[in-house]
Symmetry: D2
Subunit: 335 residues, 4 copies
C-alpha cells in the first residue's frame, strides 16, 4: 500500500501518518521527491482506509505497479500540457509535423512553412539524432537547434526536439519549447530526471519493448521532479511482424487514457515506417482517442538523411489531414 | 517468376506457354488447381514480358511470396463476398455480432434479437470451440449449430460459425451461411482446402503469430480450390505486451488492402480481450479502412462459458456503434 | 480445485466424492475422458484435503492452468515413452535425424543409412508437408509413407512422420512408428484427439507462439484420450529477432521438465533455420537437459525441396555429434 | 561499400584513396573517429577490389549493416579483453558473480568472499541501479562504489558495475575495473561514447528488444572512440512467453561469435528471472560457446532489495558450477 501525501503536506502531517502506522504495528518507509512524498506500508488492513482521511494525504494506492503520480488514482482529472499557446489533452487535438532531422536551413524553413499551412500546431525536427550506427548521419547538433529556434520565430510554431543526454538538457532547453525523450531513452532514468528538473514540457515516447506499466514508471521519473508537463507518445512496438517497421499498438492509447491523466499522442510515421501507411495509422490513432499526432514530413523523402521511407511529402500531409479531421470530428474532437 | 493462367485457359494455351519457355531454354514447372494453373520459371528475363501477351495468361508475378491468387497483382479489383444479402468489401461495412459460444436456446435468441436491433447484419456464435484446455467447455456441437440455424430463420440474420476439422465442414456447412476458420487453424491446410471445396463463404482469422505473407498464403489455399469467397479478419497478434490479451495490428488492415483484393474485417473483442477497450479498437479499425467488425456480445458477460471478459453487453454494443458509425461516415463508409 | 480420479476409479468411488462435496454444500462438475475423470469444485476449503484421502482419488490440483494429466502434480515420476526399442525420457538421449521431406527413394535410403551410421536412433521425414504456400511442394503423401516404411524395415530405424488432419491419422499410423504433430497443428484439437485415440506414440511440437501453459494444454488433449505416450519438442518461438528463423527457447526445456512428467526433446534445425547454428543449438539443448534431438539432414541441402538452409549434411551430422555426446556426458546422459 | 583505413593511416594515404575514387567518377564521404577512418562509396564496381590493395586500407566491407569495427570482416582474430588479470575471449571462461545491488558492507563482503571461494574471477554489484519505478530502491550510489573498491582490494577480485549516464563515467571509472552498460542503455549513444573515451573495459549488455545488428552497432560506438575492450553479454530478450522473465536467446551466442571478434558472455540470471532455472541456462550458454557467465548471487535472496527471485544463494552457485565446468570441458573450455 502506498500513501501519497500532497506536495504541500507538512512534516507534522507526515509525522501523524507515521505515528498512526506505528500504532498499528506497521513498518513504514518514506520516499521524498519534489513531486510527492510517499509512505509505503507492508500490511495495510483497514489502516489505509483510516489514513485516507488524514490531513495532507492525497491518495492511497494498492497493487503492484511502477507508477504513482501519473496514475488516475492519484489524479482523476486530465492534465493539460501547455507549450506556448498549444494545449495537449483538451478537446483540440495537436498536430506536430516536420522532418526526422534538421538538415539545412532551406529544408527546415520550407518544411516549417508547409506544415504550418497544412495546419500543424508545432514543428518537430531532430538536431541530436540517436542512430543505430555511429557511421550514420548524427544530426547537426547545436547548429540544428539554432535553425529550429530561428524558424520557430519566423513561423510562430513552437518547436519540439530530442535530447539524448542529461548534460544536453540545458542546451536543448535554451532553444526548444518542448523536450523529446526518444524511444531508445524511455528508460534512461538520469535523462528523465534531468528533463524533469528542466521544468520544460516533455514529449515522452514509448520504447519499442516498453509495456504500459514501464511507460508510466518512466513518466513518474519526470513527475517526481515536480514537472507535471508530460505528454506520452505511442510510436509502435517491436513484434514478429516485419511488413511494417514497428506495430502501432493503437489500443494502448485508450488503455493509457484509462490509467493515466497525462495526454497521449501517436506517431504514425515511426509506427509504420512506410509513408503510404501513415494516413490510415493516423486516422486509427485519432479514432482511438489520441490527443494528437506526430508526423514526419520532408520536402523530398527520397533524399532525406534519415528515415526517408516513412516521411510524407508536404502535399501528402495536407491530403491526409482531411480524413483525419473528419475522424476527429466523429469522435468529438477537432484539430 | 510465376505465370498465372486464366481459370478458363485451354490445354493448348498452356502448351504454347511451355513451348515458348522451352524455346528460351527455360525450365518450367506446372501446378494445377481448381482456382488456377501456375507455371513457374526460374530465369525469366524478357520472357515474362512476352508471355504476358499470350492468350490464356492472366498475370505474371515476381518476387518471393507465398500467395498468388489473393494478390492485387493477380486481381486488381476488389472482391465482393456475398453471404445471402450481406456484402463484404463494398462501401457498406458489415457488423457481425453474437456470443463467443452458443450456450442455450434462450441465450442465443436473446442475443440475436438484440444485436439485430443494434444494427448487426450477421450473427456469430461458436458451436465447436477450440479451447486451450480439454477440461474447458467445448461447445454444444451440432446442437449449437441447430440453434444457430433456427435463430437465423427467426431473425433473418445469416450465421457464421467456426469449423475446426475437415470432416466437420459438411456438417457445419449444412447449418451455417459462412464458415469461420479460427486463429489457431489459419495454417490448418487440410481444413483450408476442405473449406475451399465446400463452396461456402469463408471468414479466415489471422493467427496470433501469422505474418501478412503467411496470412495471404493461407487464403490462397482456399482460393486454389476455386472458392473466391474469402473474408480476412485481423484479430490481434501476440506480442510482449500483456496489458491486453493480444495486440490489434490495426495497420495490417490498410496493408492488406494494398496487397490483396479480398475484404478485411477486424475483431476488436479478441484483439483486446477487455470489454472496455472494444469500442476504441472498433473505431480504430474502421478508421483504418476495415470492411466490417466482429464483436462478441453476451447477455451477461460475467456468466459466459467462455471469454466473458471481452464480451460487451447488448446495451454496450448499441452504445459503441454510434461513434463507430460516425467514424465510418468520416472515411466514406456506412454500416 | 480439480479432483482427479484414477483411471480405474469406480462409479461408486465417484459417487462418494460427489456426495462428500454435496454434504459440504459445494457445486461439483464432472468431466470424463478415457484418460481420467475430473471433478471440479468452486470453493474447496479443507474439502480438498479430505477428498485426497478418498479411494479412487489420484490427485487434487489447484491454480488456474490449462493442463492436468501432463502435470507433475498429477504424476510425479517421469513418463518413459517407448517407440519400438527406443525409449524417450530415460538417461539415454534420443537422436532423430532425417530430411525435411521424403523426396525420392534414393534420397531417403541414402539419408537413413548415413544417419544410422552417425548414431541416430530414429528416422524422420515428411510425407504430408504443411507449407505456407499452396504453390510449394506438398510432400509425396502416401507414396512417401511407403518409402519410410520400407527404409525402416531395411535399416531397423523406427520412423516418425507428420500427420496433418484427423482423417489422415489411420493412414499415417499404418506406416509410421510415431506420429508427429507439427508446430502449426499444436492447437489443432481434433487432430490431437485423433492422435490420442490412435494409441501411437506422439511427438508434439511446440507452436511458434505457444506458451508453456498452452503447450501442456495441448498435450492434455492427447492424454485425455488415454494415450500417455507423448514426447514434447521445443523448436523455437517467433520473436522480433530475424537473424535466425525462430528463437530457440532453451530455458523452456528445464521449465517443462519441472512442470511435466513427459519427455522433452529439441529441434535445433527449425529453431535456428541456419545449418551452421545447428551444432551449438544442439549442444545447448542437451546441456539444458533435453531428452533428445531432432535434426534435419539432407544429402545435398542446396537441392532440398523444402527447408534446405537449415539441413546439415550427413558429414556435418556426424561431426556435430562428437561435442554433443561430450556435453551429454557432462550432464550425466549418453546417446 | 565501406573502405576502412588503418588507425595509423596517413592523410596522404587517405588522399590517395579519395583520388582513386574521384578518378573512377565516384562520390566518396569520409567519417573520422578515434577508432578508424571510413570512406563510403556509392557504386563500387571493381574499385573496391583495387582499393583493397592501397596502403593504409584495412578492409572493404559491403552490405547494409550498422557495424564496421566490431565485425569479423574488419578483424578476423578474436579480441581478448583484459580486466586486470582476467582475460575474456581466450580458452578460459570467466565467471562474474555478485549481488544485483550493493546493499550493505556486510552483504557485499560476505558475497565477495563466497563467490571467490566458488571460483568467481570477478565481482559484480550495482551501485547506480536503473529501476523501472522511481519509487524503488535506486542503489547506494558513490557509497556503493566505495564498498566495491574496498572489497576488491580485500579479495583481489576485479569489479564490474553499471554506469547509467555520461557524467557518471569518470566517477564509476575511478572505482571500478570494468564499466557495465545495462540493457536499458544499450542504445544510449552518448553513454556508449563516454564509456569508449574512458578507456576502461566495457561490459555491454544486449537490450531486451535489440537485434544482433543493433547490438553490434552499439559496440561500434565504443570502438569508434578507440576503445577496443568491449565484452558483449546476452541476457535474454523480451518475447510473448512470460513463464520466464525474458527469453535467453542462446543461439545469439554462436551467431555473434561468427559476426564479431568481440568476446560474448551470458547472464542466465536476468534471462530467466527464476533462480531454479539459472543452472540449466548457464550450462546451455557455455555449451553454445559463451566466453563467460554473469550470475546474480545473494546471501539471502528473499531479502534482496532488488531482483531477489533470480538470485542464487552462495551454496547454489557453488553447486551449479560443477556441471557448468563439466560442460565447459566438453566444449574445450575451462573456468
Amino acid at each position: 500500500m502506498i500513501i501519497v501525501l500532497d506536495r504541500g503536506a507538512t512534516e507534522s502531517q507526515l509525522d501523524e501518518v507515521l505515528r498512526e502506522a506505528s500504532r498499528s504495528g506497521q513498518q513504514a518507509s518514506v520516499t521524498r521527491s519534489k513531486g510527492a512524498t510517499l509512505v509505503r506500508l507492508d500490511a495495510p488492513g483497514d489502516l489505509a482506509d483510516r489514513l485516507r482521511a488524514f490531513p495532507g494525504v492525497r491518495a492511497t494506492l494498492s497493487g503492484n505497479r511502477s507508477y504513482v503520480l501519473s496514475s488516475r488514482d492519484y489524479q482523476e482529472t486530465d492534465t493539460l500540457v501547455r507549450v506556448r499557446d498549444v494545449v495537449f489533452g483538451g478537446t483540440k487535438a495537436v498536430l506536430i509535423a516536420g522532418p526526422c532531422s534538421v538538415e539545412t536551413r532551406d529544408q527546415i524553413f520550407t518544411v516549417a512553412k508547409a506544415v504550418k499551412a497544412a495546419g500543424a500546431h508545432m514543428l518537430r525536427g531532430g538536431a541530436f539524432k540517436p542512430r543505430t550506427s555511429p557511421w550514420s548521419f548524427q544530426g547537426l547538433g547545436e547548429e540544428g537547434l539554432k535553425l529550429l529556434a530561428e524558424v520557430s520565430v519566423e513561423t510562430g510554431l513552437p518547436v519540439v526536439t530530442e535530447v539524448m543526454a542529461p548534460e544536453q538538457v540545458d542546451l536543448v532547453a535554451r532553444y526548444a519549447d518542448m523536450l523529446q525523450i526518444g524511444s531508445r531513452s524511455v528508460q534512461n532514468f538520469p535523462l528523465l530526471r534531468a528533463a524533469g528538473r528542466s521544468g520544460k514540457p516533455v514529449l515522452l515516447k514509448r520504447g519499442m519493448a516498453t509495456d504500459v506499466d514501464e511507460f508510466l514508471g518512466a513518466a513518474d521519473y519526470i513527475l517526481a521532479e515536480g514537472n507535471p508537463n508530460v505528454v506520452l507518445c505511442e510510436r509502435g512496438i517491436r513484434t514478429f511482424e516485419t511488413s511494417t517497421r514497428f506495430t502501432l499498438d493503437v489500443v494502448a492509447i485508450p488503455l493509457l487514457e484509462k490509467l493515466t491523466h497525462l495526454p497521449v499522442i501517436a506517431d504514425p510515421s515511426h509506427a509504420t515506417g512506410l509513408s503510404h501507411l501513415v494516413a490510415p495509422a493516423a486516422r486509427a490513432a485519432i479514432a482511438a482517442g489520441a490527443d494528437g499526432l506526430l508526423i514526419e514530413t520532408h520536402p523530398d523523402p527520397r533524399e532525406a538523411l534519415s528515415d526517408g521511407r516513412q516521411a510524407v511529402t508536404m502535399a501528402e500531409l495536407d491530403a491526409l489531414m482531411g480524413p483525419v479531421r473528419a475522424v476527429a470530428a466523429a469522435v468529438g474532437r477537432s484539430f
